[in-house]
Amino acid sequence: MKKKLYWLILIISALTFLTGCQKKTDVSDSGDKAAVEQTEKFKIAFIYIGAPGDLGWTYEHYRGKQMIETKYGSKVETVHIEDVPEGPDASRVIRQYAQEGYNMIFTTSFGYMDPTVEVAAEFPEVYFEHCSGYKTADNLSTYFGKMYQPRYLSGLVAGSMTKSNIIGYVAAFPIPEVTRGINAFTIGVRKVNPDAVVKVIWTSTWYNPTQEREAAVALLDAGADIIAQHQDTTEPQKAAMERGKLSIGYDSDMGSFVGETVLTSPVWNWGAYYTRTVGEALEGTWKSESYWGGLKEGVVELAKMSPLVPADVVSLVETETAKIISGSWDVFDGPIKDQDGNILAAEGESIDAGKLLSQSFFVEGVDGKLK
């Protein structure tokens, strides 16, 4: 009796683990034909931290993958794997793809950095691309986008449209990527509305629907009438909508899932980078680099505006976008003061590179604490 039961449990857990990591090949060819062609095709694998169904981070990488397929068609074969946990499991998964003869492997989460470095050293013939990290090798590039640029633009929209002069910001963790976004957003807000403040609440989660909603509600109760966020769910936006308040999305065009109360969203557009780097690999001109593209390169952009945004705000955003793309001005050019009024960068200067990367400060206008 007992033995039977252990088998049952064993089978159940085995099944669960198997379904946990689903492998999906997006190639319609089947049978022997595919097997023959596979040897000639350039094979690309994507390692995802979540599933494309999140309509956020992973969804955007999935869209980027689709753009590779559209551009290079039958020359490439792409595959992705979902829900790969960061850590030792990631090494195993990445190594498996390298062993199976994939030519290029994209690892799309910060926590895959060391596993990617580890596997890249074992397979010098394979191209590796790691998103958001800082370690490179001869066959390993890193890539990320200047999300702060569209964040600044969305700040202009929020600053123009707030009536209470309090804008809420539901933020995940006090790490440079997030604080940089808050600072850029606040600079945008204060440019058009020097009286407005950006109230920040840390949730200590990337993805926890109930927590993120509660944080947004707390901000709304504190008087915020626009909610911006750096999370992987749309809950803060939904909470704002239910109260009849406005919001700014992130990651992907959240307006299409929540409604027109989402004024706009700073979004990723990885396809711009993916098609370029795959093209280079196909031609044999690929070189290891640390890519940090912005609005100019098209890796980041602002999603289309909600009809609620007035025309003069839209044209302001267009002017500022042109300024950033031309390179004549960037978000962290002075004058910039920190939260306590100390000058970080004077007129004509910009914040030095080290500070810009570490972002261990909040700019003037942020109401929150860096813990």
Binding site: L5, I9, T210, A218
Partner: protein, 318 residues
């Protein structure tokens, strides 16, 4: 100030409702001697199925019913494994949670409409509206309690009923007897196996309602891992409530409210670290457990866990 208290209380109650249902269910299950660690998985399954049904049929009643049927079935698996097969209750419960977590995210990606790539995430279904009680419903403080959704109103009724049933009826006495000393209970003519089956399944149904409250009222819509660990908080809450449905309300308010308070303290700009507040409910649980043990060792009355909790019941060999 009154306004702040009212809004805090309102969100605390709303956040606590799903916890309350699942906790009361789990208290009943554990009182019969069965530990069910599958609550997290069951809540997730309750959430995903109820949301899918509400999306396609627009019937909240049907949504709730299906969620209860599904989680009752999951509880039945747990009951079969632990009561009939006499398996380790911890292992079986954990399997149910792992299974429910995986299956719920799988279903969330498959049950949606074709227009949304079969995703349930990002679509809007019907949800339980807040109902304001006339006259007193917009008074300060009162409005927090009397401007909630229907499931929360039912929860108000369930707390005293669950307490009354357990302590003042014969069936409740039988239940407690089975959890304390199944052999004696059997000698008294109580069917231990049947009792355990019934209360395990009831516990599962309550977890299903808890999950449905999340997806249909609290954070309307489906998100993967929508529970965010609430199923585990429930396990702690049962201990905190000392297996007494009446005391469960204190725990759910504490656990439900702590998040709301923590975010408001941040918004108000206090210096208390948020992580400290977040661990407070767990700290209180540990403290409650310690006090309980001390009290039981030096006092006379027994108020802690049912004695037969977690132990499979074997009839004597015939």
């Amino acid at each position: 100030m009154i306004g702040l208290i009212t809004s805090l209380l309102a969100i605390t109650i709303s956040a606590g409702t799903s916890l309350l249902y699942a906790t009361i269910g789990e208290i009943y299950t554990e009182r019969s001697g069965i530990l069910n660690l599958g609550i997290e998985g069951m809540m997730l399954m309750g959430a995903v199925t109820s949301f899918a049904v509400s999306y396609y049929t627009n019937s909240l009643f049907l949504a709730l019913l299906i969620a209860m049927v599904v989680t009752a079935f999951m509880a039945l698996i747990h009951a079969f494994l632990t009561i009939t097969m006499k398996a380790n209750q911890v292992v079986s419960g954990l399997s149910i949670t792992i299974f429910g977590t995986g299956l719920s995210s799988f279903l969330g990606k498959r049950l949606g409409p074709e227009s949304n790539n079969f995703n349930l995430y990002g679509v809007n279904g019907k949800n339980f509206p807040d109902i304001q009680v006339p006259l007193v419903g917009d008074w300060p403080i009162f409005s927090a309690i009397l401007n909630q959704d229907i499931l929360t109103y039912i929860a108000y009724l369930i707390i005293p009923l669950a307490w009354f049933f357990m302590y003042k009826t014969k069936k409740g006495l039988n239940l407690r007897a089975v959890g304390e000393n199944p052999r004696t209970a059997e000698a008294m003519g109580i069917n231990v196996i049947r009792t355990r089956y019934i209360y395990t399944v009831i516990g599962g149904m309550f977890a299903g309602i808890g999950g449905a409250h999340l997806a249909l009222a609290y954070t309307p819509g489906w998100n993967e891992h929508i529970t965010g660990g609430r199923g585990w908080i429930v396990i702690a809450l049962v201990i905190f409530a000392m297996w007494n449905p009446g005391k469960a309300i204190l725990g759910t308010l504490l656990f439900g409210g702590i998040n709301a308070i923590q975010f408001r303290l941040q918004a108000a700009g206090t210096d208390i670290p948020a992580s400290l507040l977040n661990m407070l409910p767990y700290l209180v649980t540990v403290l409650a457990l310690v006090l309980l043990t001390v009290y039981e060792n030096y006092g006379k009355r027994k108020i802690g866990a049912p004695s037969a909790l977690g132990k499979p019941y074997m009839k004597e060999d015939k």
